[in-house]
């Protein structure tokens, strides 16, 4: 399994043709206390860059974009009851949704962990 990052502060774990998507620890820290996560329905098909989910703090609502194209196969229902998971464990249990990839070549444009760390350090 390999982990990729986007400059929109999403992480993507790819295992076979299934990609698990979440927001990065850096992003959750910037957003503050997460109070609500709106997740996509199973079966929904996204092109790269589509609005895929919404993450809300008390004072802001942020769109989460589909980092790659694919069809939603699962959403993290645990976030509906426990949005604070995004704060406490953004890059593991706080995942948002899983996609079945349609175009693995899109992964080539994404960053690896070292590149993302450098990207954040320069913000």
């Amino acid at each position: 399994m390999s982990r990729y990052f986007t400059d929109e502060h999403e992480w993507i774990d790819v295992s076979g043709d299934i990609a698990t998507v979440g927001i990065t620890d850096y992003a959750q820290e910037q957003l503050g206390d997460i109070v609500f996560v709106e997740l996509p329905a199973e079966g929904k098909v996204f092109a790269k860059g589509d609005d895929a989910a919404v993450v809300e703090s008390v004072k802001a609502a942020s769109d989460v974009y589909a980092p790659i194209s694919g069809e939603v196969v699962e959403a993290n229902g645990a976030l509906e009851d426990e949005p604070a998971l995004v704060n406490s464990d953004a890059e593991e249990d706080g995942w948002f949704f899983k996609l079945r990839l349609t175009d693995t070549s899109e992964l080539d444009e994404l960053m690896d962990e070292a590149a993302y760390k450098e990207f954040v350090a320069n913000l």
Binding site: F36, K59, A60, A61
Partner: protein, 452 residues
């Protein structure tokens, strides 16, 4: 200028601090061509409190106050007795001159009232949650239709022909611009509502069915079968209540399966005021709350763990979501909500039930009496405090002739449905606790005269 505390000496001292030569100099950014060098032409100069009072009282004197004559108008606005303490309390400066509770530490008064108000409205409607109020019933109705579109992702609303024509008109105006499809027509002068036709019209494109309860002609219909049919097709039932007092006597829309209940709250605590400000009520099932428009007040704790209240779920609203907001609404009807809530507290469960029973009994007696007027018949089988009389002639002319006799006898359907000749003889008559036996006799006799 009694509302302006600065003296000329103050102004001079302040200009000194600012480093400006005159107040006019502070307007330097305004292009000279657009800056008037004296008072706006064509308007009078300032006036004393007494002179203004006199001017306004003269205008008020040209109106026929409802309380000064036998009065039977309803159709979305109702005359009820409001206890004296309501108006006294809403004029406390801490309520009257407060702003939206954006600083909750010094707005717990307003916030707790809103929390209590939301609870009262939700319970009256038989729903899970209510918001902190909208402009009025008609705009709340449109917001509900838009909300149903967001929830169902469908764009066709079926409006019952018993829905207040002004509510239909507001929704129709908005829909022209948003692209929503609204299906509606004028009511028929029959005792039965259009419930069966509505059910038959529901299809897989339907986002919502909008039913007024009791309806514009005062008729009451069981919402249960409409709710079931709507849900079977994946649509929502929106119930619209223009006379909230009715729910003290009849089953709540929530009990009958409504998904969203909206309405006018004016009846409780808010006077007639020639149509506004009024109070839009808006409630829904809990699972729909994040699609709801308008302000919401929620319970929480402060830094010391004490219970307190804040505005919450604001990410739905325009100041955060901007073009993605659920609505552009930015105010509520705060002071009217306060009046509603105080009146509701004074009534309580028992008072509301008793007041509703009193309204209904008076209306039943009045309907019986008025149906005895030669040529007049009662349309309704069931009704609460409002019913429709069918006259032997155009009801608009009759209403005007009654007004000439200092009787405000009802709302003519011709006024509400211009051009619908089949409705022209209908007169909608509301009978509340403010109507006396003498008033009913006066109307019966007046009708006898104007119809002769």
């Amino acid at each position: 200028m009694r509302y302006l505390p600065l003296s000329d000496a103050d102004r001079a001292a302040m200009l000194d601090v600012i480093g400006a030569s005159s107040v006019e100099a502070l307007f330097a950014d305004v292009p000279a061509a657009a800056l008037l060098d004296g008072p706006v032409p064509g308007l009078p100069a300032h006036a004393s409190e007494m002179a203004v009072q006199r001017h306004m009282a003269a205008l008020a004197g040209q109106n026929m106050a409802a309380g000064s004559v036998p009065f039977f108008l309803g159709a979305g606005a109702y005359k009820h007795h409001v206890p004296a303490s309501v108006d006294h309390l809403i004029q406390r400066g801490e309520f009257l001159t407060a702003y939206t509770p954006y600083q909750p530490e010094i707005a717990q008064g307003t916030l707790q009232v809103l929390f209590e108000f939301q609870t009262q409205v939700a319970r009256l409607y038989g729903m899970d949650v209510a918001n902190a109020s909208m402009y009025d019933g008609s705009t709340a109705c449109w917001e509900a239709i838009v909300m149903a579109r967001r929830v169902t992702k469908r764009g066709k609303g079926l409006l019952s022909s018993g829905l207040h024509p002004h509510y239909v008109s507001v929704a129709g105006t908005m829909a022209k611009f948003t692209g929503d499809v609204l299906v509606h027509g004028a009511p028929a002068l029959t005792a039965e509502t259009d419930a069966e036709a509505l059910i038959a019209a529901i299809d897989r494109d339907t986002s919502c069915v909008v039913v007024q309860y009791p309806d514009i002609l005062g008729r009451i219909t069981d919402l249960t079968p409409i709710a079931e049919a709507a849900h079977a097709a994946g649509a929502l039932l929106i119930a619209v209540v223009t006379e909230p007092l009715a729910l003290g006597a009849i089953r709540s829309p929530g009990e009958m399966g409504a998904d969203i209940v909206v309405g006018e709250g004016q009846s409780i605590g808010v006077g007639l005021q020639f149509g506004g400000p009024y109070l839009g009520l808006f409630a829904c099932k809990e699972k729909l709350v994040r699609q709801m428009p308008g302000r919401l007040c929620g319970q929480t704790v402060d830094a010391e763990g004490k219970r307190g209240f804040v505005l919450t779920l604001s990410t739905r609203e325009q100041h955060i979501r901007r073009e993605k907001a659920t609505s552009n609404i930015c105010t509520n009807s705060g002071l009217c909500a306060l009046a509603f809530s105080i009146h509701m507290t004074l009534l309580g469960e028992r008072g509301l039930r008793d007041l509703a029973a009193l309204n209904h009994a008076k209306a039943v007696k009045a309907a019986e009496r008025l149906a005895q007027v030669p040529g007049v018949s009662l349309l309704n089988d069931g009704f609460f405090n409002e019913f429709t009389l069918v006259l032997p002639k155009d009801a608009r002319e009759a209403a005007r002739a009654l007004a000439d006799r200092h009787i405000l006898g009802g709302v003519s359907l011709g006024r509400l449905y211009p051009g619908e000749t089949g409705l022209a003889n209908g007169l909608v008559v509301a009978v509340t606790e403010t109507v006396t036996d003498e008033d009913v006799e006066a109307l019966a006799n007046g009708l006898t005269e104007v119809l002769a």
